[in-house]
């Protein structure tokens, strides 16, 4: 099932490149996504490819995987030139890819997903049987245990990722590309993934890790290539560089990796949540009796593995979901009872930056200026008895773009033409500019590049310093630890611990997130 390829070099000699890219060039209309990119990845190594969103990493890897065709340049695998025009060519050249958004058929079993495209014959019966035993062997060899008969869509994401890796190995991949593999994993799962990758490398496979997280590059790669604006700007052995140096190469200027902020001066309690319970459509409790308070002038972070009730919590606070129990007290009034809805929350001074920007934060087909007033469109400023005041809207958007450094500053441009970071800055501008006393932010920097992350964090801290309360939910522990004055940890719908921001460590939070109860501060 899986031929062991003999080592090409004598032991001790430098291993030759498994994959070479020479002068890859690619344009999408006016965008020059890859500018004559050359790259060599040694056999049996883990090679990091790092860069901001939009630096061209994904385009480059999609060219290698046959998803896009390069305008110019050539690809060599094990020293031999290959023509890659579609994924089939790439698979036949021994390249496998684990995409950022998993390519699984959710209603299929794991086994069906893995054999798709390599079924071993026109009839399924025999091929499935052979695949089953072959996968057992592969699983044992690489410590990749997956339940072959489970429905893929029901598996936790960490498991789905293993399915993707097994799928690539089943398709006989010798070179494995992983695109942002840790975006959906807990720190513990990420470590497990890294151990798996190290094992694959030690067995002679070549791994390319595409990421924007410096920590991962430092932790696992042998060499690293930095891309910026479509070009390779730096390449080095990982041991010869530092996170700071890499970050500067990525952004092209010095950046602050840590959030700079003065100690918080918390004032009076603004928002008090008591025993909040939220059930989903099926009646399953998602938030189970959460209690906490938000004070003026502080940032409270909510840490947790994605899907442990954080989304439901902020949706209840923002008025999107109606809580099934408990109370949300703001200025002596219980928001959980009586009138609900986002407009009601806005009138109480609660603003909300949703977790999923493209699903809830913006309307993808709208221009930037229309997106910049969403939810506030009925206000007198933008609206005169039902008619939109186009000029006021445009001027308002131009102002927001100037003060939040949104690039390009063109209010009439479609929102999807902006990068993730610039979209998020505009959403943040919209929610902050209406003068809320409480800001609820879900995943403030998801899909946002480093430069913009720094900016967004500064804005959130500035809001705190002006005496407002901020609740931040994020799956990025670094972000939670950097921003928060207090950290709440959610697991299984409950708040399982509270840690002062200054004392939090990744290990302590990780334990709480994994559901080990207790107060890590004591």
């Amino acid at each position: 099932m899986e031929p062991e390829s003999p080592a090409l070099q004598a032991p001790g000699g430098p291993p030759g490149p498994a994959l070479e890219l020479c002068g890859i060039d690619k344009r999408f209309g006016a965008v020059h996504a890859n500018r004559s990119v050359s790259l060599a990845v040694s056999k049996g190594s883990i090679h990091g490819l790092i860069g901001e969103n939009g630096a061209g990493k994904s385009t480059l890897m999609n060219i290698v995987y046959g998803f896009h065709r390069a305008d110019a340049g050539e690809i060599r695998v094990n020293g031999r030139r290959v023509e890659i025009g579609r994924p089939r060519d790439s698979i036949e050249a021994g390249i496998g890819m684990v995409h950022q958004h998993f390519m699984l058929v959710e209603r299929f079993t794991v086994l069906e997903n893995i054999v798709l495209g390599a079924e071993g014959g026109a009839m399924l019966g025999r091929g499935l049987g052979e695949a089953r035993s072959g996968l057992g062997r592969l699983g044992r060899k690489y410590g990749l245990d997956v339940p072959l008969d489970a429905e893929a869509g029901h598996l936790p994401v960490g498991m789905q990722q293993r399915v993707e890796i097994l799928k690539a190995l089943h398709h006989r991949a010798e070179i494995l590309i992983l695109d942002e593999p840790t975006a959906v994993l807990t720190p513990a799962e990420a470590d497990q993934l890294f151990r798996m990758l190290a094992l694959l490398r030690d067995q002679g496979k070549t791994v390319i890790l595409v990421t924007h997280k410096l920590r991962e590059i430092m932790a696992i790669t042998d060499r690293v290539t930095v891309m910026r604006q479509g070009s390779v700007v730096h390449e080095t052995a990982t041991r010869d560089t530092s996170p700071k140096a890499l970050a500067e190469q990525m952004v092209g200027r010095a950046v602050l990796l840590k959030v700079e902020k003065a100690p918080a001066k918390p004032g009076a309690g603004l928002l008090e949540v008591r025993n909040l319970e939220v059930r989903d459509r099926l009646g399953v409790p998602r938030v189970k009796g959460a209690s906490f308070s938000l004070r003026a002038g502080e940032i409270v972070g909510v840490a947790g593995v994605s899907g442990n009730g954080q989304s439901e919590l902020i949706e209840a606070l923002a008025g999107i979901r109606v809580p099934t129990g408990g109370s949300i007290l703001l200025g002596g009034q219980d928001l959980a009872r009586g009138s609900t809805g986002l407009n009601d929350r806005r009138s109480h001074g609660i603003a909300h930056v949703p977790e999923d920007r493209l699903r809830m934060g913006v309307v993808a087909s709208f221009s930037a200026e229309d997106n910049a007033i969403l939810g506030y469109h009925a206000r007198q400023r933008f609206n005169r008895s039902g008619f939109m005041r186009r000029r006021a809207i445009r001027e308002d958007c131009a102002e927001k773009m100037a003060s939040y450094d949104v690039r390009p500053p063109s209010p009439s441009l479609r929102i999807t033409a902006f990068s993730g970071g610039n979209q998020q800055k505009l959403v943040l501008a919209r929610e902050i500019d209406c003068g809320p006393s409480v800001l609820i932010v879900g995943q403030p920097t998801r899909g946002v590049d480093i430069g913009a992350i720094e900016f967004i964090h500064r804005r959130i801290v500035a809001l705190r310093d002006s005496g407002k309360a901020v609740l931040v939910v994020s799956v990025e522990l670094d972000e939670i630890m950097g921003l928060s004055d207090r950290i709440l940890v959610m697991a299984g719908g409950e708040i399982v611990g509270e840690v002062p921001g200054s004392e939090a460590t990744e290990e302590a939070l990780g334990l709480l997130m994994a559901g080990v109860k207790g107060d890590a501060s004591r």
């Binding site: 998803f67 994924p87 959710e106 069906e112 798709l116 495209g117 079924e119 014959g121 399924l124 019966g125």
Partner: protein
């Protein structure tokens, strides 16, 4: 005994009515499982009904008629696929366009070629129609109503296309769940990106599915004009394509439940035909309009109330592009 006779006759009629529904619904199943909405069932069937009747009338051969019916339906299927798969057009619009064109074009061509008010000539010559095949001893069996009448009416006496439709359902289930093609077909309707990244052509699969749908609709249309009746008349598919689509949804895009839904609709239709003018105990004679509407009322009720959450193939109706 009279009630038994009546029931057997209704069931026999059910089989005859169900045949084009089953063929069309299975046609739709292949297409929709691949992710292409098959609203064009109606138009493809109507085109096949006209082409087969016209060719059978002209040549005197039902088999040549079948060939022509399949060819006409297949041509339309390829037109829709070219618009929707190759050029990523709107599947609903493309299919409805075909339906409307066929509804107008078929009677117009019939008028031009045969000059009989938009119909094709009566098919009454030998070999112009698909006729029932009597099984051995069917006539003799009628003398012993139980189970002889059931044998003679339900098993024996149907034409080839009915038996083809009956065999089609298990065959489709086998293709769908036991073969590589079936696996890929199911996958492409759920997540075409997964299929593409596994190195399989999304468009090729969707064309293959469209071709199967075209062929089966061709057979269904041929049945309507050359087996169930003796010639083409205007709008003779009478919404059967949409009814088949409803059965497909009711059957949750699975072969056997879809068959069951087709039989249910057909039973309502056959029963309604028999109920016309018959006084029912306690109700009296039901207005004929209501009886004719019964299968459609049933459809609406079933679809609205009893299907539960329809589990359509996830990517249905979405043209495939690599860009997100």
């Amino acid at each position: 005994m009279e009630a038994y006779r009546e029931i057997i006759l209704i069931l026999a009629a059910t089989i005859r009515v169900a045949t084009p529904l089953v063929l069309a619904a299975i046609a739709g199943l292949f297409s929709e499982r691949s992710g292409v909405i098959d609203l064009g069932l109606e138009g493809k069937m109507l085109a096949a009904a006209f082409a087969s009747a016209a060719v059978a009338a002209a040549t005197g051969s039902a088999w040549l008629g079948l060939g022509a019916g399949v060819a006409a339906s297949l041509a339309l299927a390829l037109v829709i696929a070219f618009a929707c798969v190759t050029h990523r057009g709107n599947q609903v619009v493309a299919a409805m366009a075909v339906n409307i064109i066929v509804a107008g074009l078929a009677p117009a061509l019939a008028l031009a070629w045969f000059d009989q008010g938009g119909q094709t000539p009566q098919l009454d010559g030998p070999g112009q129609r698909f006729l029932g095949i009597a099984w051995p001893w069917a006539q003799a069996a009628r003398r012993h109503p139980v189970p002889g009448l059931a044998y003679a009416e339900l098993l024996s006496g149907h034409n080839l296309i009915v038996y083809f439709a009956a065999a089609l359902v298990p065959a489709s289930a086998w293709v769908l769940y036991r073969t590589r093609f079936g696996l890929r077909l199911r996958a492409v309707g759920e997540n075409p990106l997964a299929v593409d990244t596994a190195g399989i052509s999304v468009n090729l699969l969707r064309y293959q599915a469209s071709i199967i749908s075209g062929i089966l609709c061709g057979v269904a249309g041929t049945y309507i004009s050359t087996a169930a009746s003796a010639g083409f008349v205007r709008d003779m598919t009478a919404g059967k394509g949409y009814l088949a689509l409803a059965a497909l949804i009711f059957g949750k895009w699975r072969p056997y439940p879809t068959l069951a839904a087709c039989l249910l609709f057909a039973f309502a239709d056959a029963g309604a035909a028999r109920l016309q003018g018959v006084p029912l105990p306690g109700i009296g004679v039901v207005p004929v309009q209501l009886i004719i509407a019964l299968p459609y009322i049933l459809t609406v009720l079933l679809l609205a109330g009893f299907v539960g959450e329809a589990v359509a193939p996830k990517a249905i109706g979405v043209p495939y592009t690599k860009e997100k």
